[in-house]
């Protein structure tokens, strides 16, 4: 545990990151955009709502919009933060020196990964006060927010690991970026498409859905957008069970899948960081 806070790479990366002006401007820009979005929403709904206050239904709508903004942030910024972590050091010719130090491959990958995650978490947390406005209007429980945050973090970890892995095994940052963004788009877009197709194939025009469809369940359960929808509204979850006929909780499927992705990607990154020397026997 102590090594987590004394990890040299983590400390160095955070120092570098917070020294760069673009980090602060990034956070400021993000908060500004989020605030404009929320206050614009409140303003618009007040205009259309003659009673002059926001009802809980609108509050839930605002909550889900905010959640999808946070999800989009996680999905689009995480690859950018991680896909260059190792390859950019290689391109700047600092990697060789780093690799000859006494740090283990695990420490280096862990430091790279955690520094990106810390920064992304900061972005998410910076948005929290704006989120809390939703609670003023009711209709959403704090536990719901906590669960959603937990899954945002899991998504971040998984995509971050994918980025770090590609950054380690591909030599060029640009290539790593493309492949990582590609993976992210696959997990959010292509899986949704597959989900819809396999769902279709399982529906008979006369009897409706009768048999469970493992494929539809699988593609649906690993889709971050589908997960967030079911976390926001329980009716969505019922619907999902209805079309797949598999009653295993979708969040559990998501948790298992993305935990495995995280562990496997980090494992590959650690193994591939240094040349594979013969192991001592």
């Amino acid at each position: 545990m102590r090594s987590m806070f004394t990890n040299p790479v983590l400390i160095k990366e955070l120092k570098l990151r917070f020294r760069a002006f673009k980090s602060f401007s990034g956070i400021m820009f993000y908060l500004l955009a989020l605030s404009i979005f929320v206050f614009g929403f409140i303003f618009v709904s007040m205009e259309f709502n003659l009673s002059g206050f926001i009802n809980s239904q609108e509050s839930v709508l605002l909550f889900s919009l905010l959640t999808f903004v946070q999800l989009a942030l996680t999905l689009f910024i995480t690859p950018g933060m991680t896909a260059g972590s190792i390859s950019s050091e290689r391109e700047k010719q600092t990697l060789n020196i780093l690799l000859t130090t006494a740090q283990s491959s695990f420490q280096i990958i862990f430091g790279k990964m955690s520094s990106s995650i810390v920064f992304l978490l900061l972005l998410l947390i910076a948005g929290l006060p704006i989120y809390s406005l939703v609670f003023l209007f009711g209709g959403v429980s704090p536990t719901q927010l906590l669960v959603i945050f937990a899954f945002l973090i899991l998504t971040m970890l998984a995509i971050g690991s994918i980025g770090v892995m590609f950054s380690t095994i591909l030599r060029k940052t640009i290539l790593s970026m493309i492949v990582t963004y590609g993976s992210m788009l696959f997990l959010t877009g292509v899986t949704a498409f597959f989900f819809l197709i396999s769902m279709r194939m399982n529906v008979s025009s006369t009897t409706g859905v009768t048999s469970p469809s493992i494929f539809a369940y699988f593609w649906g359960t690993i889709n971050p957008i589908a997960l967030m929808m079911t976390l926001i509204s329980p009716e969505m979850l019922e619907e999902f069970y209805e079309v797949t006929k598999i009653h295993f909780p979708i969040w559990a499927g998501y948790l298992i899948f993305y935990s495995i992705v995280t562990v496997v990607c980090l494992f590959i990154a650690i193994k591939r960081l240094r040349v594979n020397m013969k192991k001592a026997r």
């Binding site: 040299p8 160095k12 570098l16 760069a20 600092t94 040349v275």
Partner: protein, 309 residues
């Protein structure tokens, strides 16, 4: 201290290193010379655990670089031929980062960093950002970095490249100081005279093979293979020519007024014998001397010869 056996590195069908054997004693300053692409950096990368050899192995302080990479990393300080620095860090933070990378406690790092900066004459740049340092300063900072965990062995790939003459001399003085601290130092360069000044031993590598190894003076004769001897005479040039012509080790006799020179391939003992016989044969020799050859020429001659073979 360093033992290299049959080290081979293949890229496709191309041999960057072909069965390199080398042994370097503790406390030696070893110079590794070779033309571009000879395999110097490849050897150093393997020793620094950055590259896996195709065959063979190397041992530093008795530990194999391929099997005990973690322990090797603690033993060596490696300076690559090309390297970058983290531009957003200050000089002392740069050293601090690498200090912590070797697990040196913060309190100790605090004491160590000013000493290291002092050693490489960068005390005045302690709080400057690394990217504003000049190339030579970056090079010295990198040298200080290789020293931070007090390694027994330093592996420096062309540490003097890109330095002006003054900085080269400074670098040489720093290396001398390190040698006096008992460190084993490996330096590569493609400039033989530069290495000759600061090294105890020199190895010449060409096309991935070690073609000569020894002290600076042995290398000189070993590389030469033949030397040029010049004999000055009072008179009797004809007699002298016919005498030297008979010797099987002598070729290419050239004559001048009262002097003749020729290429000689024999050993030192045979050379002494030759002089003795010449004197006994009553040849009026004024002087009998070996022509000084430039190290540079020697290097050119030998590497060219190997290429043709």
């Amino acid at each position: 201290m360093i033992e290299i056996k049959g080290l081979t590195k293949k890229y496709g069908s191309f041999y960057a290193l072909q069965g390199l054997d080398l042994s370097i004693g503790e406390g030696t300053v070893f110079g590794f010379v070779g033309a571009n692409g000879a395999g110097k950096s490849t050897t150093f990368s393997i020793l620094s655990t950055l590259l896996q050899p195709t065959a063979g192995d190397a041992w530093i302080d008795g530990k194999s670089v391929t099997k005990h990479a973690e322990e090797i990393r603690k033993l060596i300080g490696y300076m690559p031929d090309f390297f970058g620095v983290y531009d957003q860090l200050k000089a002392d933070e740069y050293l601090d980062f690498f200090g912590s990378s070797y697990g040196i406690p913060a309190a100790e790092r605090k004491k160590l960093i000013p000493q290291l900066l002092e050693l490489v004459n960068l005390t005045h740049k302690r709080y400057e950002y690394v990217d504003v340092l000049s190339r030579g300063m970056k090079q010295r900072l990198c040298l200080a970095r290789t020293l931070i965990h007090d390694p027994k062995v330093l592996i420096l790939d062309e540490p003097a490249s890109g330095l002006d003459p003054r900085a080269r001399i400074e670098m040489r003085d720093i290396l001398k100081q390190l040698k006096s601290m008992g460190k084993t130092i490996l330096i590569s360069s493609h400039i033989l005279p530069e290495l000759a000044e600061m090294c105890d031993e020199i190895g010449v590598i060409d096309n991935g093979k070690l073609i000569a190894h020894g002290s600076v003076s042995t290398i000189q004769t070993q590389l030469q293979g033949e030397k040029v001897l010049t004999v000055k005479l009072q008179d009797d040039l004809e007699k002298a020519i016919s005498f030297f012509e008979e010797n099987p080790f002598i070729t290419g006799i050239e004559t001048g007024e009262h002097q003749l020179s020729f290429r000689y391939r024999g050993s030192d003992e045979e050379q002494m014998e030759l002089l003795k016989k010449a004197v006994l044969a009553n040849i009026p020799i004024l002087s009998f001397a070996e022509e000084e050859k430039d190290l540079e020429d020697v290097f050119m001659a030998i590497t060219k010869g190997v290429d043709e073979a």
